[in-house]
Symmetry: C3
Subunit: 478 residues, 3 copies
Amino acid sequence: THERTAASGVCTRRTPLNASTNMRLKLPITCFILEIIIIILFGVLVQYDEGTDAKLWHDRNHSSHSDYDNDFYYRYPSFQDVHVMIFIGFGFLMTFLQRYGFSSVGFNFLIAAFALQWATLMQGFFHGMHGGKIHIGVESMINADFCTGSVLISFGAVLGKTSPVQLLLMAIFEVTLFAVNEFIVLSVLGAKDAGGSMTIHTFGAYFGLIVARVLYRPNLDKSKHRNSSVYHSDLFAMIGTLYLWMFWPSFNSAITAHGDDQHRTAMNTYYSLAACTLSSYAMSALTAHDGKLDMVHIQNAALAGGVAAGTAGEMMLTPFGSMIVGFVAGIISVLGFKYLSPVLESKLKIQDTCGVHNLHGMPGILGAIVGAIVAALATADVYGEGLTDVFPDVASGEISASDQGVRQIISLAVTLGIALLGGLIVGFILKLPIFGAPPDTICFEDSIYWEVRRSGNVMPLSQQHHGTTRRHTLIRPG
Amino acid sequence: THERTAASGVCTRRTPLNASTNMRLKLPITCFILEIIIIILFGVLVQYDEGTDAKLWHDRNHSSHSDYDNDFYYRYPSFQDVHVMIFIGFGFLMTFLQRYGFSSVGFNFLIAAFALQWATLMQGFFHGMHGGKIHIGVESMINADFCTGSVLISFGAVLGKTSPVQLLLMAIFEVTLFAVNEFIVLSVLGAKDAGGSMTIHTFGAYFGLIVARVLYRPNLDKSKHRNSSVYHSDLFAMIGTLYLWMFWPSFNSAITAHGDDQHRTAMNTYYSLAACTLSSYAMSALTAHDGKLDMVHIQNAALAGGVAAGTAGEMMLTPFGSMIVGFVAGIISVLGFKYLSPVLESKLKIQDTCGVHNLHGMPGILGAIVGAIVAALATADVYGEGLTDVFPDVASGEISASDQGVRQIISLAVTLGIALLGGLIVGFILKLPIFGAPPDTICFEDSIYWEVRRSGNVMPLSQQHHGTTRRHTLIRPG
Amino acid sequence: THERTAASGVCTRRTPLNASTNMRLKLPITCFILEIIIIILFGVLVQYDEGTDAKLWHDRNHSSHSDYDNDFYYRYPSFQDVHVMIFIGFGFLMTFLQRYGFSSVGFNFLIAAFALQWATLMQGFFHGMHGGKIHIGVESMINADFCTGSVLISFGAVLGKTSPVQLLLMAIFEVTLFAVNEFIVLSVLGAKDAGGSMTIHTFGAYFGLIVARVLYRPNLDKSKHRNSSVYHSDLFAMIGTLYLWMFWPSFNSAITAHGDDQHRTAMNTYYSLAACTLSSYAMSALTAHDGKLDMVHIQNAALAGGVAAGTAGEMMLTPFGSMIVGFVAGIISVLGFKYLSPVLESKLKIQDTCGVHNLHGMPGILGAIVGAIVAALATADVYGEGLTDVFPDVASGEISASDQGVRQIISLAVTLGIALLGGLIVGFILKLPIFGAPPDTICFEDSIYWEVRRSGNVMPLSQQHHGTTRRHTLIRPG
């Protein structure tokens, strides 16, 4: 029986029970406390906004033309696309590991479900307290998903080496710092970053990379046989890649101004991604000594065009400009996977499981710089009356376009500063031995946190069932 | 060759040919007769509604402002999300079984495609005969998908133990009874149930559970080695789970009133699901002796928050209230999987393959009760002019809010009654031996109804091909 | 070690290195040249249209009512559904092959990302030069995706037997010819074909079939052991099928006129597909000697109803008519897979890997004929003022309805002519030996173009790593 199973694709080695990784109390306590705190804070602080409150909407609606003015119809389809990116996109992108699919999808699910609630509160504190209350609707839902995306990027850097309790803790701090940074960048500094090249991608990537640095494991080689993909796990990962790729135009345009702004942002992103895909394939074949394409590049680098169009996408970047940005992003990203990541690991001791530096870090910085340049070049001649939507302070004459460009660059520096400092502190918190991190020998392994059924269909005779529904052949620690 | 194959993940044991399970004539006859009846009835009874008919729309549109008033733009994005839940969500959620993926996705596809046509007719009879004709458009399409969802819930209870012909028969009766119950609950009793906690989830679950009871198989243990998941089948099931989870806000809001109602319902459901996810993870770890998470709970219980917000979601439940509801639903659902399902099987002889009682049954009842309470607490002060959308009879002064609460509770009782009685009768019909149910020894097995290719890439020498496209290495009964 | 791996589902035979199939220079050069040409042409020729340009939109908007008039809100949700069909739908539909999943999804991704850019240019030349510039927005994005769909259909015919460079070349020519044919059919001849029964499906299928004919491989039997599916590859393919099926209503309605037209087209397609599903299941069981359903039929024939409703879907076909069309399409398609494809291969030497003749070819012609008939029967009595949207030339009195029917039939003939002639020429170009087609012995095999990781978790000792992130156990040619 054992040999049968061992030979059948999914490995079933016995996982030694480790008291510290046992989640029986740690995970429920963490989840329950967090959720109860959130519920209490929602009860005290959160209210429907004008578009979701029955009374307010109907009061306002007396003088308006149509239910269509409700922001729901402008943004909900975009929200759902973003939602799919967060849960399917990020979740399945990380299933490439052969023995970590449950955790990739499952922990992604858990921390995203937590983070979007926490983000509603944190972003509400900084963005929109109205008489002591946080007003929420579809726009806050999108913003909460955006903030969640940032946490999931950081998750990619530490994938396979952290317990769910560590991840929830990371999410608490990261969401909070995200909201602080977002407030400084967008509200204090007045920068534009609708698709989050800075606030989401750069922030999430460098935060996660520093956490990974602090959690460096010199003996991670002991788990290296699991730190790779198998055939079907790469196909599952492609589901994640493609949903991210397809819906990135919705992501970047989800909270831009109504009308031409949403429309233009989506289209710019679409062309940036298309160009990025061609340069990623080209570079993947070019950098392989035998010219064979590498799934790692396809799954990741082809998305860099979306990241890099995150800031400038809403501006008059033109499809021409978008394609150049995407084209360059794909090249940078593949080169990063091929030549930079090994150096980061060997020299800087940053073990970046998913290569988020190549997908979100460098392309995010590229996007921020492109955004600064395009902002600095903005003219009333090109934008017409639309300048008010994109650069309100420039349109009002308060600042010049080049001032706006400077704002953008300062915002990038601030974002990097907060991400690096925050990641450093949070990394040391996560390092405390009580949170159940897996030992070096059992990283990238689902069975340490999940009941993993045995592949094959032979059930041990010893297993006694008395009428349970949906029985499982479980692999229990020996 | 045989050993090779046997060792390769997917088992290829030979299935003995059983005359009664042979679908060569039974399935085509059933499908053809049903489809021809449907086509004739559509020809006689069905017409485009005002939004889909070229003449009617343009006549009406003369006096209106915009093509945007067409209900298509209000509801089609929601419809597509619901559509994905029906075909991908339910279909893949059931692929967790190691040898029943084709049937889970494939029979789901078949009965859904049938049920949505039949539902259009049955719901049309009861809801909207206009001068002897059924008028259809995007709202009837959503309602048809909703009714289909109910049938798919019941399918979950009998998964692996029924032939496609049995399932089509079940769908005929269940759709019909669904339409009757829906008519009584919504039109006669005047209850509100936009997301179907009662009419869809409670109805579908208890109908299916009683059918499963009548079809009880004392010797199902003979197939128990197939009644479990393997690693990749659990990942496929997570695709189903996540699509259901992500799009549930669209489901509950798909047919609520335009404007704030759709907006609020989507947001309430979003928060209910998020809270439910945290409590499901917590309970899954807490109830496992070694603290390991169980995929069964994650795949199912995390969705209970959507079910439980099905009735009250459109009301002024507040995000705070939604989170409490979701939080409780997740706890109840995991406890049900862990402690109640084994009792249902051993004591009540209900073999509930997917645990629909835990995902749809109990959370559906919870949702109905919550809906009754929130309805009874409704005040003009909170809803303002919006009261007309949510509780028209209360707004008009015809009844009091507490009367509305009573209506809701009566509706729950009626739903349970019709589901239980209907399921009992239909179960006995399905028990007739002519419909090709699988024998106890070959339940949960695709190869009884599907041509299943052999895993691995060795083709027997004996197999003669003469130019067929897309050749298969088939496993034929010996 | 080798035996372990060999026994584990995914085969890992060593692929002999073949100089001509090495893509190290060919693929990067092709991708870079094409992308740079596209970027230059976009820089010179392409501009934002009125809905995406900040200045133009705000100028126009002065006199209009709402940002809602922006075409983005009418079409973007449909666009995203179409986008999913192109990348997930087509991509995963072709993953049924046991050893060709990376190529199916990955080459689909590459050629689609290229084709949508090229199509923007080619369609722009013929459809909408405004003062020497191509104006683009969401409608051109949908049209580019449509054109891409046609290329992907042709890809299905040659799947497994062509290199990525060949596919890119095919895309260049096919997109160009598609734009020519589309211009003739829609603009010169004045035919209607919103869902592309003719311009997309018939064109793509017959173009691809002729290419496959020219690329005929008499010794393809040497790879026949890989030209089949395994259990999980069929489940991956079902993801593709279902997304195509669910979103086909959006596909057919994506560029029809606003209002009732989009609404009606979506609904007609919905019912056509539902009826088609039932007839496909019926025929699949009926044509199998043991009554077992065949995944090939379910994955493909059930979609024929969408193809066949592509032309008439926007007309007053009625749900009744739609169901008849879908019902017939499903029957034709299964019969084609069962009886016609083997003849095409043995007699006409057309090796149609995915059976596109059965899914797109015959149902496309059926759809064209149905469209001609329904057009010829159009009356002002039925369409009212809506006649202007659907048949503007008939509404204006310029031609009669039967003239419109004749236009439709001529358009079908033209489409077939251009597809067959174009495919013939392109086939001979692709036959040049320099493009790296795989040898007959290694068709349907990912490892010729992709780095394929070994299944199982044993890493050869010889492999030296120095700190690379995301290590792979690669199968390198011996």
